[in-house]
């Protein structure tokens, strides 16, 4: 993707890119931007909007703006790490299966079939119950689950590339598996994989927040957008919209990513309508 590509992007994609960039900036510079610390108690609980606390304080008297900023940083970081891990593993194995074929492909594919047949959320629940609910475990467990989906896509995309003559040419040259995967197939499978990365990221984001909802996700006092919604969801019944804010933050990011993904996929499909 070059700069000129971005220039010709439709407004929705532009919107998405700008929003994502903003989130990344907020995440990177959270310590500088956030007025208060992540768990710092600065005032009374549930202070109203305005004044020193533009969005008020939460149930413990922590500044909501600061919590949102830290929450963005944590959620983004964790989701990103998870997605990256899922991709590292899933894409590598997917490409390997496509390039190698034979029993390697069979074993990997059957294993993935099995794992996919277990509902993701319940699977996560099971694994998190086994290994405990730390952030590291959360990242690994979701990464494993998502990796199975990435594997399928990577394998399918790579299968389309593997039949290309230039891959055969490289094989005939005597190139090793690593070269085939890295240099011949990966660059040509990149567009759908990048798009998938965006989608997977959204799934991971939502999955973590769903697990937080069930009490197995990110544990307090770590600020996290998903658990912030859950913590204060009961307020919604009484017309307090503060819990909407982290949910809106989640939705805004996922919508933006989806816009960009749409555009990437559209470009990759070569459809011009």
């Amino acid at each position: 993707m070059t700069l000129t590509d971005i220039k010709t992007a439709p407004p929705t994609a532009w919107f998405g890119i700008v929003v994502i960039a903003l989130y990344i900036l907020v995440a990177l510079f959270a310590p500088l931007i956030a007025p208060f610390g992540e768990t710092e108690i600065v005032g009374m609980e549930f202070e109203p909007w305005g004044g020193a606390y533009p969005l008020g304080t939460d149930n413990l008297g922590r500044d909501v703006v600061s919590r949102l900023i830290w929450g963005t940083r944590n959620s983004l970081g964790i989701a990103l790490a998870t997605t990256a891990l899922a991709f590292g593993a899933g894409a590598t194995l997917g490409l390997l299966a496509a390039v190698t074929g034979g029993w390697v492909d069979q074993i990997l594919s059957r294993l993935v079939d099995m794992l996919i047949a277990i509902p993701a959320l319940l699977f996560a629940l099971l694994l998190l119950s086994i290994y405990g609910t730390g952030i590291v475990n959360l990242v690994i467990v979701i990464a494993v689950i998502e990796a199975t989906r990435v594997f399928r896509l990577a394998r399918a995309v790579a299968m389309d590339v593997v039949v290309m003559d230039y891959v055969e040419a490289a094989r005939l040259r005597g190139e090793g598996r690593g070269w085939l995967m890295r240099r011949e197939i990966l660059p040509n499978a990149a567009a759908p994989l990048i798009a998938e990365f965006g989608l997977r990221f959204c799934f991971v984001f939502l999955a973590i927040s769903a697990l937080s909802f069930l009490g197995l996700g990110i544990q307090p006092p770590t600020a996290d957008l998903g658990s912030m919604v859950r913590d204060n969801a009961a307020l919604i019944t009484f017309g307090d919209i503060t819990p909407l804010l982290p949910a809106a933050a989640i939705a805004l990011l996922t919508v933006s990513i989806n816009f960009v993904v749409d555009w990437v996929l559209h470009r990759a499909s070569g459809l011009k309508d």
Partner: protein, 514 residues
């Protein structure tokens, strides 16, 4: 608002108190009447629930079985006293070691008459090698149970216990019929209570139907009661707000102020015995130094914690487990307050400049435990004590963290008597002595007070024990939580018992529809 000066009786707080002058309250005073099919949204139900008394835990099963389908020998009344239920009367001997219970002549829902054999089978269900009962420990003090004719049961204890009737009121000890072989057939769900069990879908719903021939004439008013398991606090609250259910237990503290303000709804709030200890292992450094324990006890801001974690719906704790509602609560014991300087002073006494401790916590301990830990971290920080909040998995918290980590958070629903509470958690060698505290004077007093039948003397003894706990004990007990239930105006009730939620889990029997 503080609750330190409330009477030991059940305390009806804001919600109902505020509405006491309203029309609903007036109607409520018109007296109970029969009828109505009501629904209760209840927390704590699970698909694994059974109606086996051995595995009872707080949840809809207990509310249904204890308060609806079955009776105990003894019940705890709204005044916090042990009142005869299936027992017509009970008498101790002079040492409070042998207790004789005379039974009423009442019928089970299958028509059989209650006999001593049923009582013995019901208690034996929790005794012996093979029982899996959570109440097994409670009956370790029972050396023998025997019948003295059809309607008399004699409990022979290993040592005197003036509070034994309270033990008999424990929710595990519901009386079910003997199947002829000395065991109870709990699957049948038969009891002497005001309702019959019509349907039990574990973790989903329990349906009870009124028995016309119930032996208590002024109890069990509803025609039909459905207990729905609603574990999500928000869903439970919504169910009450939308009229799906008439009563819920465990209103989430976060929104209790909002819920109470809604027209047509009211809160039923009592200061109970539930408390949140932070036990420190007294045999483990640095907590083996009483000055370190005192430093930590002074480094916690109880009022802030009560305000923020319980939204004020509770009362301050004084580092001992005896609730304001207990009979021998030491109300005149000086309330410990947040004092960073005192904390620093005690640190110095312990020869320390600063202190780093790790506090294990999880919301499995109690709702808001992690928040409480964070608050403690903040307040202790100002006293020069760094508290590292160590979050543990909720799953397996009670088996892997509690009793094992040297500084962890815990939860006790409390017990109706001082002796019970102290014996269970603070006595030397008690299985659940979570702070591994061993104070010879305390243990001496515990045994003496147990068998003492003179109320005045007992009060003195328990007073001293509370002071010992407070100044030497290993647990920080920052607060007692209120039991907060919610109900709509269709439902009325009399005086509410302060042990546990829902009128001591007797809502089904005691409340009525207007």
């Amino acid at each position: 608002m503080t609750f330190t000066d409330i009477s030991r009786r059940g305390f009806l707080a804001t919600g109902t108190a505020a509405l006491a002058l309203g029309p609903t309250a007036l109607r409520a005073q018109a007296g109970p009447k029969r009828g109505g099919a009501i629904r209760i949204g209840h927390s704590g139900g699970a698909t694994s629930d059974t109606i086996d008394p051995a595995t009872y835990a707080a949840g809809p099963v207990v509310t249904a079985m204890l308060g609806g389908v079955c009776n105990n020998l003894v019940e705890i009344d709204a005044e916090g006293r042990a009142a005869p239920e299936l027992a017509e009367s009970f008498e101790p001997d002079a040492e409070a070691r042998v207790w004789t219970f005379k039974l009423r002549d009442v019928a089970f829902s299958n028509g059989a008459r209650l006999t001593a054999a049923d009582v013995i089978a019901s208690f034996n269900h929790h005794r012996g090698e093979d029982t899996k009962s959570g109440a097994k420990g409670l009956l370790d003090q029972v050396a023998d149970i025997r019948a003295d004719g059809e309607r008399v049961v004699v409990f022979e204890l290993t040592a005197g216990n003036a509070d034994f009737p309270f033990v008999a009121a424990d929710y595990h000890f519901v009386i079910m019929p003997d199947d002829g072989s000395g065991r109870i057939d709990w699957q049948a769900g038969i009891g002497t209570g005001g309702y019959t069990l019509e349907e039990h879908e574990p973790g989903v719903r329990i349906r009870l139907k009124r028995r016309d021939d119930y032996w208590k004439e002024d109890r069990a008013w509803f025609d039909e009661v459905t207990l729905l398991t609603i574990n999500d606090p928000t869903a439970r609250q919504n169910a009450l707000v939308t009229g799906e259910v008439d009563i819920i237990n465990g209103v989430p503290p976060k929104t209790v102020h909002l819920l109470g303000r809604r027209p047509g709804l009211s809160l039923v709030e009592v200061t109970g015995t539930a408390h949140y200890p932070f036990p420190m292992h007294c045999d483990t450094a640095p907590f083996d130094d009483v000055n370190v324990r005192l430093a930590l006890k002074h480094a916690i801001d109880r009022q802030e914690m009560l305000d923020k974690v319980l939204k004020g719906h509770g009362s301050l704790g004084n580092d001992h487990p005896i609730a304001p509602g207990n009979r021998f609560h030491a109300a005149d014991l000086e309330q410990r307050a947040y004092d960073p300087d005192r904390a620093k002073y005690h640190l110095k006494q312990a020869g320390l400049d600063s202190l780093d401790v790790s506090l294990s916590t999880s919301d499995a301990a109690f709702a808001g435990a992690v928040d409480a830990a964070v608050l403690f971290q903040e307040s202790a920080g100002r006293a020069g004590i760094r508290v590292n909040v160590d979050r543990k998995p909720a799953d397996g918290y009670w088996s892997n963290v509690w009793l094992k980590d040297s500084f962890a958070m815990s939860y006790w629903n409390g017990r109706p008597t001082e002796d019970w509470m102290f014996s269970l958690v603070y006595a030397d060698g008690a299985e659940w002595n979570e702070s591994r505290w061993s104070n010879p004077r305390f243990n001496e007093l515990l045994v003496a007070a147990r068998a003492e039948l003179d109320e005045g003397l007992r009060a003195e003894m328990y007073h001293e024990m509370q002071a010992l706990c407070r100044d030497d004990g290993g647990s920080i007990i920052p607060m007692f939580a209120n039991y907060i239930d919610g109900k709509n105006d269709r439902i009325a009730h009399g005086e509410v018992a302060s042990n546990r939620f829902l009128d001591g889990w007797k809502v089904v029997e005691r409340w009525w529809a207007v």
